[in-house]
């Protein structure tokens, strides 16, 4: 993927500029090479964009106090998802695994006891993300946790553009005029959680809270959202944040 920097883009923040600047500044070689690959031209139609769905299971919701316990990554495009290309890692959290989180994602104390540290997967992970636009459901979580985990181990953070299927869903179901009317009329808001969002597109129900399953679920959800509400010509800059 050859990065072409479209300086005319009015999207804030200007991701190509940001990545180019980081590539110049960083002293960490792995990050430098990642940033040097840049991101997509903001005008790239989403139908042509190489994408990668990513999902973390964590010990909690606070990136500064909690840790990643598993990572699922699924490279895809709007025309194909190849599950065989997906990757899944169980990681050892540096901080205590609480009983609540065990109950939530079914990764047990014993499972993580001998698991590797996040540091060991950085190369593989960055290799899968480079040159692809990352797709997540609720970017706040993946973005903060990835940034924090990289910062702890490499001394610098890692930010990149992401498409958030949850915020796309929120735009349609929470911020539209119709949604506001509904709320004004006292009707409950549409749920924008992964499972409920998928139901609106008649996607099948999967067993939730497994990072790889959820990354596949997110990839399928984006395919459905684009077909129903956008089209393959929509520029990525209209979707990423």
């Amino acid at each position: 993927m050859i990065p072409r920097f479209a300086m005319k883009s009015k999207v804030e923040p200007n991701w190509p500029d940001y990545l180019a600047a980081r590539a110049q500044r960083t002293s960490e070689s792995r990050l430098a090479s990642f940033f040097a690959q840049g991101t997509l031209d903001p005008e790239t139609p989403i139908g042509e964009a190489p994408l990668v769905a990513m999902d973390f299971e964590t010990t909690g919701l606070d990136g500064s106090r909690h840790d990643i316990v598993s990572v699922g990554v699924m490279p895809f495009t709007l025309s194909r998802i190849r599950p065989a290309d997906g990757r899944y890692w169980v990681l050892s959290p540096r901080r205590q695994l609480s009983d609540e989180s065990v109950a939530f994602h079914h990764i047990t104390h014993a499972e993580v006891a001998d698991a590797p540290d996040f540091a060991t997967i950085i190369d593989d992970l960055l290799g899968l993300l480079a040159g692809r636009l990352v797709v997540v459901h609720y970017r706040q979580l993946e973005r903060t946790f990835l940034d924090a985990a990289i910062r702890e181990r490499l001394g610098e953070g890692l930010l990149m553009p992401m498409i958030d299927t949850m915020s796309l869903e929120a735009r349609l179901h929470r911020q539209s005029l119709w949604a506001r009317l509904r709320r004004w009329a006292g009707r409950p808001m549409a749920s924008i959680r992964l499972h409920e969002s998928r139901q609106r597109y008649h996607l099948p129900a999967y067993t939730g809270h497994h990072a790889l399953v959820d990354s596949l679920a997110t990839a399928e959800l984006l395919q459905a959202q684009i077909l129903h509400h956008y089209d393959w010509q929509t520029p990525v800059s209209a979707l990423w944040r």
């Binding site: 599950p83 065989a84 014993a110 008649h202 996607l203 099948p204 067993t207 790889l212 459905a224």
Partner: protein, 647 residues
């Protein structure tokens, strides 16, 4: 990566032709699947485009069109398409396909498809013969769902719940509750890999060490006073009976019976992939025997229905081979017989127009008792509303009866030799005439009327105004207990046919016709038994029709000594199943099924049981004459009161 977690394999494994693939091939396909979402209304395949993959519908539905634009086929979850185009040398699409619902597709790459066709003959045959549901015959469908051929994994539809031995009982129970599961498997990490371990998603070696079922929570936890914080490992059953996902459902059923368990963990190699519960098998079996019934209701002419009749026999043989008991077999046959009758009536009404006055089509005898065998003939009659005017409506009901009875004969239910059919004007009458018949038969019994009672007093509605038949059932149940002369005469008749046992318990053979040295199990066994059960049932005012149900009602009264109804039930089941097996054997050997069994062909243990069964009937017959004494003039009323009073 571990594709199994994505449940692609599990989904494929539930549907033909993947359901019968060996695990290795299924693994390979699941590992190569690609996925794409299509919106409702979009075109999936356009005519003449090249096709590179086999398309599998993970969810949603599509339609396939012929060249003329006519709808050709409609496919949904678990169906495949594109295989016939893939098999052509130019791989061009013949029939365009579009999504009628939002659809998620699994693509199986063409080279993988070819490799699987190459390696698995059944798979190849399925796709080469256009094995889509559209063209699959009843025969194949039923074979597909047979207990012998269906693999266990087809019945598994979700991941097993697993906990470690250190987990507290409460946590395990919560997990079971949340997953709506009836058991948990107990697994633990082991240091070394062995023949008993499997590799978890974390790359470590795990071993299945125990199982804890909801029943265990009663017997091993509450009854033993264990605290909710006790580790699961302390109370679990350590003896885990498992089955491989490749095994047949029949094998699973045997294993459950042999080991007295209701939960069977299913392993794919050594990895637990699900838990089979006894109820899963029952559900599966019911479904497959109902298949023929579904098929009956979509046929549009008596000729089409008649074409299904060989299926009844093969289905019967399969059920017997699968180890069904007589009640299951007979109920299935009754359901099928009713379905044929109902469909024929619907077709008749379609041809003749709606009935001018309400009516009810009823079946009599073994069909009404839900105890028909494979060679049962038809017994039926019409009850018509009292507004019936023979001059104006007679022709309609005559035509209806002829249509249905002829149709039944074509479908393998021979005409009744005694002419007990709706085509007989005598048995095509308004309700009030029926009431008069029945009352007369009970008030003034004679030879013919008793014979009729033993057929007509087993009655059930099949189509139309069921309450009309209920009125007649009520009438019988109300009157019969108060008609001691009738009961006594019926009891005497019930003793006409005696079990074939000599004084020293040796069999007494019939010497009739070509069946030299044989015992007619119907005439000498099940028929006398149903006759005597009917007498008791009528005496106690039971409205049940099925002999087992009648025995239940009789057991509620003090009519028979303790344990007698149990012995009769056992005798009935045993004689019925011997007769059924005999008939299934005959069909398999290409012979006409009959009721005559040569005791020499029965093994010695069964022969012994058969003698016990006959003896039970013989004793019960003796009791009849003791119980239902032909009353003298003064005694008539009190004998009747007696029968009623003991309910």
């Amino acid at each position: 990566m571990n594709v199994e977690q994505l449940d692609i394999r599990g989904h494929l494994a539930q549907f033909a032709p993947f359901d019968n693939l060996p695990d290795a091939l299924l693994d390979r396909i699941a590992g190569e699947v690609e996925i794409r979402y299509f919106q409702a209304g979009s075109e999936l395949l356009v005519k003449d485009q090249t096709i590179e993959s086999l398309w599998y519908i993970r969810s949603g539905a599509v339609e396939m069109y012929q060249r003329s634009g006519r709808l050709f086929n409609r496919l949904s979850e678990g169906d495949i398409f594109g295989y016939s185009d893939l098999l052509r040398s130019n791989r061009r699409v013949r029939y365009p396909i579009s999504a009628i619902e939002d659809t998620l597709i699994y693509f199986i790459p063409g080279d993988v498809f070819e490799a699987v066709c190459e390696e698995d003959d059944d798979f190849a045959e399925f796709v080469e013969t256009g094995g889509q549901r559209l063209k699959v015959t009843v025969e194949q469908q039923r074979d597909d769902s047979g207990l012998m051929t269906t693999r266990v994994r087809k019945l598994i539809n979700r991941q097993p719940q697993m906990v470690e031995a250190a987990t507290s009982l409460q946590q395990a129970a919560q997990q079971m509750r949340d997953a709506n599961a009836t058991c948990v498997l107990v697994i633990d990490v082991t240091e070394t890999q062995s023949a008993y371990t499997f590799t978890g998603p974390d790359g470590r070696h795990w071993q299945l060490n125990g199982i804890l079922t909801d029943r265990d929570f009663c017997t091993r936890v509450l009854a033993e006073g264990k605290s909710s914080q006790t580790p699961v490992g302390e109370v679990m059953s350590r003896k885990v009976i498992v089955i491989q996902s490749d095994e047949s459902v029949y094998e699973a059923m045997l294993s459950m019976l042999r080991n007295q368990v209701h939960h069977l963990p299913v392993l794919h190699r050594r990895q637990p992939v699900g838990v089979l519960h006894l109820s899963d098998i029952v559900r599966h079996e019911t479904h497959s025997s109902l298949f023929l019934v579904n098929n009956i209701f979509v046929q549009n002419s008596p000729e089409q229905l008649a074409r299904l009749s060989p299926e009844v026999r093969t289905g019967f043989v399969r059920m017997v081979a699968d180890g069904a008991n007589s009640e299951m077999v007979c109920r299935a046959l009754a359901t099928i017989g009713r379905a044929f009758t109902q469909r024929l009536i619907e077709l008749a009404e379609h041809e003749l127009g709606p009935a001018p006055v309400p009516y009810c089509f009823m079946v009599l005898g073994s069909m009404a008792r839900e105890e028909p065998t494979i060679n049962a003939d038809q017994d039926n009659a019409l009850v018509i509303d009292d507004s019936y005017d023979p001059a104006r409506h007679g022709k309609y009901f005559e035509a209806l009866a002829t249509f249905v009875c002829d149709g039944l004969a074509a479908c393998g239910y021979p005409y009744c030799k005694g002419d007990i059919m709706a085509t007989n004007p005598r048995w095509r009458q308004p309700l009030q005439v029926w009431k008069a018949y029945f009352t007369e038969w009970m008030d003034e019994p004679n030879g013919e009327r008793l014979l009729h009672s033993s057929i007509f007093f087993d009655l059930a509605s099949v189509h139309g105004e069921a309450p009309m038949v209920e009125v007649l059932q009520d009438l019988i149940a109300d009157l019969a207990p108060q008609r001691p002369i009738f009961l006594a005469a019926l009891a005497r008749n019930a003793k006409n046919r005696t079990p074939p046992l000599g004084f020293f318990r040796q069999f007494v053979m019939d010497q009739d016709g070509e069946h030299r040295k044989s015992i007619n199990l119907k005439r000498r066994g099940t028929a006398p038994l149903t006759d005597l059960v009917r007498v008791h049932a009528l005496a106690c005012g039971s409205k049940a029709q099925n002999s087992f149900a009648r025995l239940d009602d009789i057991a509620e009264t003090k009519l028979l000594a303790d344990g007698v109804t149990e012995r009769l039930r056992y005798a009935f089941e045993f004689m019925s199943i011997v007769r059924i097996r005999h008939q299934a054997d005959a069909i398999e050997q290409g012979a006409e099924p009959d009721n005559s069994v040569d005791p020499e062909n029965i093994d010695s243990r069964e022969r012994h049981h058969l003698k016990d069964a006959f003896e039970a009937i013989s004793n019960a017959q003796k009791f009849l004459s003791f119980r239902y004494i032909m009353p003298t003039k003064q005694g008539a009323a009190s004998a009747g009161d007696n029968a009623r009073g003991r309910r």
